[in-house]
């Protein structure tokens, strides 16, 4: 085949290239720049090699916030994925109920993150908030601004409220794409409801669930706004997840070098976990 040579085509490519350069490559390179050097302002830089990386990798503070981060992410995945599937299974498959359920389910997803944080903050306040006040009236000693357990409970509850819908919608789409003939075939075999779920529905939902887990992992691992507005990372450092800790280090203490090194490590952890997970899930899907 003869290729037509047309240099004007560059005009279509260059804008995208410039845009990506400005919003991704250049900022990332700035971070890389800070991660390997020491600066005292005035654009004076001194080479530090891998010193900041070593410092972060050995710092207890980083280990603690990384630990909190993993714990938080695993808890919300552990709740949201099964809960999302369960809700999707109970949703109507046809009729007027479908659009109603879909709209109701999408509502939390449409609310801006800082609004979610503020909403839950007020909702959970022990003196005036509906949730906080009710819990205390029922005899629970609940105060998320002072007790670590309560702070975690509220943060997790907020995230479950905000994001389970995403898992529901993805699972629902997966379920809807299963042809009715599968259910009939299982009925003819006399398969139990549980067998239908594990042998037909789960395998057929595998791809959307992979996407759901990936999205929820990435989002929850990078969570910032909601806990920042709700608890500000407190009490103490109890809900200071990676991103909150990072911002404290970079903008609070102005430790630019260690903060830059930490963001790169952070970035590679997300990348690595996603890659490993995706590769494992898609291993046997070669020819589909």
């Amino acid at each position: 085949m003869n290729k037509t040579i047309n240099q004007k085509a560059w005009f279509f490519v260059i804008p995208v290239f410039v845009l990506v350069a400005f919003n991704a490559i250049i900022p990332l390179m700035t971070v890389v720049n800070y991660a390997f050097q020491e600066t005292f302002g005035n654009n004076v830089f001194m080479w530090e090699g891998t010193r900041w990386f070593k410092q972060i990798m050995l710092s207890e503070r980083f280990h603690a916030s990384l630990g909190r981060q993993f714990l938080f992410t695993f808890i919300i995945l552990f709740i949201q994925i099964p809960l999302g599937i369960a809700i999707a299974l109970t949703m109507p498959k046809e009729g007027i109920g479908v659009p109603i359920c879909l709209v109701l389910m999408s509502m939390p997803l449409l609310i801006p993150w800082n609004v979610v944080g503020a909403m839950w903050n007020i909702f959970a306040l022990p003196d005036i908030g509906f949730l906080g006040h009710s819990l205390n009236a029922l005899g629970f000693d609940y105060n998320f601004t002072q007790q670590i357990g309560d702070a975690w409970f509220t943060t997790i509850l907020m995230d479950v409220w905000h994001w389970t819908s995403l898992v529901v919608l993805l699972s629902y789409a997966g379920l809807q794409s299963i042809q009715p003939a599968y259910y009939q075939a299982a009925e003819i075999d006399g398969a139990s409801r549980w067998a239908v779920f594990t042998k037909i529905e789960l395998p057929k939902m595998k791809k959307v669930l992979t996407i759901a887990i990936l999205l929820r992992f990435m989002d929850s691992f990078m969570i910032y706004t909601e806990p920042f507005v709700l608890t500000g990372g407190g009490p103490g450092n109890a809900t200071a997840f990676l991103s909150i800790d990072l911002v404290k280090m970079a903008l609070g203490q102005f430790d630019l070098g260690p903060a830059a090194a930490m963001s790169l490590i952070y970035f590679f952890i997300v990348l690595l976990v996603c890659w490993v997970f995706y590769t494992l899930m898609m291993r046997n899907e070669g020819n589909q």
């Binding site: 009939q184 075939a185 003819i188 075999d189 057929k204």
Partner: protein
């Protein structure tokens, strides 16, 4: 063994999906439900299987009323147009699945799966998963699942429709053999008349939720009880024209074609059905009746020529052996044999054929 539908009717809301139907299917027969899409084949099969309940009427199996009995208790198998297998099971486990649930011993499962797999040429791929197989092999696996169980009733809902041409031909030839020596009733739904003729057995022609005619396949084909039945059982579509008869002489209403007849029906107007392969581009035996037409489309296959042509304001189809290249718009002569005409009265009921 027999399966009997007594006045079975199916309504959903105000729509009637199946009009009251009586049908008796006998042991060791292949019964073909032939009809275009949405003629009610699938609904009828689901009612037969017990996957769906009729609104009115009864289903009797072996002289026992089984209306409303659950499908698991009826010992039926079904094969669908889509290739339905358990996605996470190997071919072996898929074929074994109906047996495992009923608690057959593992030695017997092994032996029976092996036998069915061999019959369906799946022996080499027992350890593969369905998504590693071709469409044809996936459908063979689904067929094997249906056959392994020794069902009393095997339902096949357009099982070949999603396969490509070559695989379809291959599997179609094997199908009748698969059901030989089996103590069961086979019901096979299809939209293709040629498939019904190939499988033999009995055929029920269906249209818009009504069973038009049921009987031996060749009988239904040769003696359609009505124009509708003939149309359902004709691909390419049957040519229909009005004629008038007085005494021994017959002619098209426009007098363009005349012939003598010895058939003994009263004088008057009739509709005549002529199958496309009874109109040819060449004279053959007794088909001396000549008509003229203008070529609309000519489709050639390796050995046949399908020529669509117009006469007046009617479109006709002819199917000839051999390859005849015709140009669109050409005037041409075609030949037919009045003995092969099928006569219908004003109510479109069969009067006589030939």
């Amino acid at each position: 063994m027999s399966l009997e539908l007594k006045n079975v009717e199916k309504k959903i809301g105000l729509d009637t999906h199946i009009y009251p139907t009586n049908l008796k299917l006998e042991k060791n027969t292949i019964n073909i439900l032939l009809g275009p899409t949405v003629s009610g084949k699938t609904t009828l099969m689901q009612i037969m299987a017990g996957l769906d309940k009729p609104t009115n009427g009864e289903i009797w199996f072996n002289e026992k009323n089984v209306t409303g009995m659950k499908v698991q208790k009826r010992n039926v198998s079904m094969v669908y147009q889509q290739f339905i297998n358990y996605p996470n099971f190997t071919v072996y486990d898929n074929i074994a699945s109906p047996l495992k649930i009923t608690g057959v011993s593992s030695d017997e499962i092994k032996q029976r799966v092996g036998k069915v797999a061999e019959l369906l040429k799946l022996s080499a791929m027992l350890n593969k998963k369905p998504n590693e197989l071709s469409g044809g092999q996936q459908q063979r696996t689904a067929l094997a699942r249906a056959l392994v169980k020794d069902s009393d009733l095997i339902l096949l809902d357009e099982p070949l429709a999603n396969l490509d041409f070559k695989l379809r031909e291959e599997l179609r030839e094997e199908l009748p053999k698969l059901f030989e020596d089996r103590d069961c009733i086979v019901v096979y739904a299809t939209t293709e008349p040629s498939e019904a003729l190939l499988l033999g057995g009995n055929t029920a022609t269906l249209l818009e939720g009504k069973v038009i005619q049921y009987g031996k396949t060749l009988n239904v084909y040769n003696k359609p009880n009505s124009l509708v039945s003939a149309q359902v059982f004709s691909d390419p579509p049957m040519n229909i024209t009005k004629i008038k008869k007085s005494g021994e002489s017959c002619s098209f209403l426009d007098n363009s074609v005349n012939w003598k007849t010895k058939i003994n029906i009263k004088d008057g107007e009739y509709k005549v059905g002529i199958r496309p392969h009874n109109i040819t581009t060449y004279k053959e035996g007794n088909n001396s009746l000549e008509i003229k037409g203008k070529v609309l489309i000519s489709e050639l296959s390796g050995s046949e020529s399908l020529i669509h042509f117009t006469r007046g304001n009617l479109n006709w189809v002819s199917l000839s052996n051999g390859v005849f290249q015709k140009n669109v718009g050409d005037e041409m002569k075609l030949y037919m044999n009045a003995d092969e005409f099928i006569y219908f009265d004003e109510n479109e009921r069969l009067v006589i054929n030939g």
